[in-house]
Amino acid sequence: MGERLCAILQEGTVDMENNYTLEITDVFKHYTQRIKGKNRFRSVKKTVKAVDGISFELKSGEIMGIIGESGCGKSTLAKLLTNLEQPTGGKILFNGVSSEEMLKNDRLQYKRMIQMVFQNPFDTFDPRNNIDKIIDETLKLHSIGKTRDERASITQDAMEKVGLTPVDDYLHRFPHELSGGQLQRISILRAMLLRPKFLVADEPVSMLDVSVRAEIIKMLQEQVRNLNTALVFISHDINTTRYISDKIVVMYLGRIVESGITDSVLHNPAHPYTKTLISNCASIDILEKSNPIKIEGEPPTPIDNGPGCYFAPRCYMSKDKCFKEYPEKTEIEQGHFASCHFINRDNLN
């Protein structure tokens, strides 16, 4: 048995002492798009700012939730982290090494550094291949296990560990023969077989039936805990994000508007956008019904924002200043930040 196999079998003991840090500094993703002009026969070239200057830090073992509405840039951020798209500005550093450098040296090493679980489990695998082939090719690509047999036993062990048994029943099936929950578990398993230091999960349960969501969330939790992997959990579902994550980031139109320890942000939101988001979120908890805050319209496409606060046009408490100046990031309590002029009352006048 190869060294790697041993390591996998003694799950959870290998990387504990190794600490990895993911550092994102001022990352941008802008692209030009033709936008409808005055009528459909005219168009204007505009810069869409999908991700507009984002910075955060994530350490091994942490689980960070990202919430926001569609178009807020959370999925683009996931693609930037996994190099499905390349940022137009800023740095993504893994333990101080930039992503470009890593990709240049060893593209596959980068892939082993950060893996991803996708929203749609039904479409995560090539429909022409069975599960055995899908997993085997992944291991082969990354030279995990020298022979076919060795790889087969790695797969076998890993699947048994997460309760996908009897293993043979799964291996010889094609993706369309499995349920969403089973597929998503295989997707997580495949990502974790590469022993990534970071895992991005983009809406991993939103396409699943309610009754199987919990097991996926629990599996994600266990898997990252065992390997001390850091998890970025992207979701529009605030309740689930609260359940799984240690800290939380709220995004609006490509920027982070509020961030901090999960319960601190969700129970004591400082930014009006976060407040609106939470108050409009339907909850099973009927005894604590809150009245939804009313705001105008829907999130626009991130074009021509600012110079003021991006949320100002829809904000229920915006003043002149909000339209002129982008609010600075302010610390409310330890580790809890928000960018709003109203946090510090002195700024008001």
């Binding site: 996994t82 190099n83 499905l84 593209r107 596959l108 892939k111 082993r112 893996q115 991803m116 996708f118 929203q119 749609n120 479409d123 995560t124 695998f125 090539d126 429909p127 022409r128 291949n129 069975n130 082939k133 992944t138 690509l141 990354h142 094609f174 997707s187 495949r190 590469l194």
Partner: protein
């Protein structure tokens, strides 16, 4: 050519098997597919066993010129006394060969160009799709006509020229497939796993998007047979082989006193072309049952 083998190999595995199974089980449900396959099988058998079935040497000049169908000449003879029935049997070989080879050339070119264009996108796509647009706007038949007129009308020339002037339809189909497959989660997941772009194209995009191209290529066989027969009818056929278009062409001058010459050879073209159309359309039917089915 390596690519072709690879594609062929890949198609043997997994989902393709399922699709084949699906096709086989659907053959009985999709009437036109069933009819097409039976018809084509018959024509191919006749072509293979032509030397055994033929009553005369198709090039032999008999003494009975413009002789009507009789016991000796089942479908009559032409102006030079050649037996029509035997001519049609041997002509089947020419038509099917030209049709299949030309359509395959067009299918392979279209798949690769369309696949690269759609999957890689960006500047490559901009250039390639412009090439496709230009080709689509050109009167292909006249181009074929002129090239064949200039370079000679050997069977090889005809096949190649038809092949390289008609790939655009396939390229457009494959490009569209590649564009939509590229958006699929499994392609993105292969990228995050670390598979290289070229391998994704060859191992995942093309095999998953090839089916409409196979259906379309089958229909292209029909078009190629029609084009070849039109060329022959215009006197631009390969004089060294027996071809249906040529027989129709030969019979044109005897329309009044030898109606059988053009009539039977024409029917042979109709039936063969029909067989490929039915099969191709039947395959499309299986792909999008909602659109085409009669229920």
């Amino acid at each position: 050519m390596i690519e072709i083998e690879r594609i062929a190999k890949m198609n043997k595995s997994g989902n393709f098997k399922m699709k084949i199974k699906k096709i086989i089980s659907s053959i009985n449900n999709v009437k036109q597919l069933k009819a097409g396959i039976i018809l084509l099988a018959l024509i191919i058998l006749l072509a293979i066993f032509a030397p055994l079935i033929a009553t005369h040497d198709p090039f032999e000049l008999n003494d009975d010129m413009v002789s009507p169908p009789s016991n000796n000449y089942i479908l009559g003879t032409d102006g030079l006394g050649r037996d029509i029935f035997s001519g049609i049997l041997y002509g089947a070989r020419t038509s099917i060969l030209i049709g299949v080879v030309a359509a395959s050339i067009s299918g392979i070119m279209g798949t690769l160009i369309g696949g690269i264009s759609g999957f890689y996108g960006g500047k490559i796509d901009a250039v390639l799709s412009e090439v496709i647009n230009v080709f689509l706007m050109m009167p292909t038949f006249f181009l074929i006509l002129i090239i064949v007129a200039l370079f000679g009308s050997s069977m090889f020339n005809v096949m190649v020229v038809i092949g390289i002037t008609t790939w655009t339809g396939n390229a457009r189909l494959m490009r569209a497939e590649a564009l939509s497959l590229k958006q699929r989660t499994f392609v993105k997941s292969l990228e995050t796993i670390g598979e290289s772009k070229f391998k994704i194209l060859l191992k995942h995009i093309i095999p998953n998007g090839i089916f409409p191209i196979i259906a379309n290529t089958t229909m292209n066989v029909s078009d190629a047979i029609l084009t070849e027969s039109a060329l022959s009818f215009l006197g631009l056929g390969d004089p060294n082989v027996m071809s249906w278009g040529q027989i129709v062409y030969n019979g044109k001058s005897y329309l009044t006193n030898g109606w059988w010459i053009s009539t039977f050879s024409g029917i042979a073209i109709v039936l063969t072309v029909l067989a490929f159309y039915l099969i191709g359309d039947g395959m499309n039917n299986i792909l999008s049952p909602k659109l085409n089915s009669n229920n």
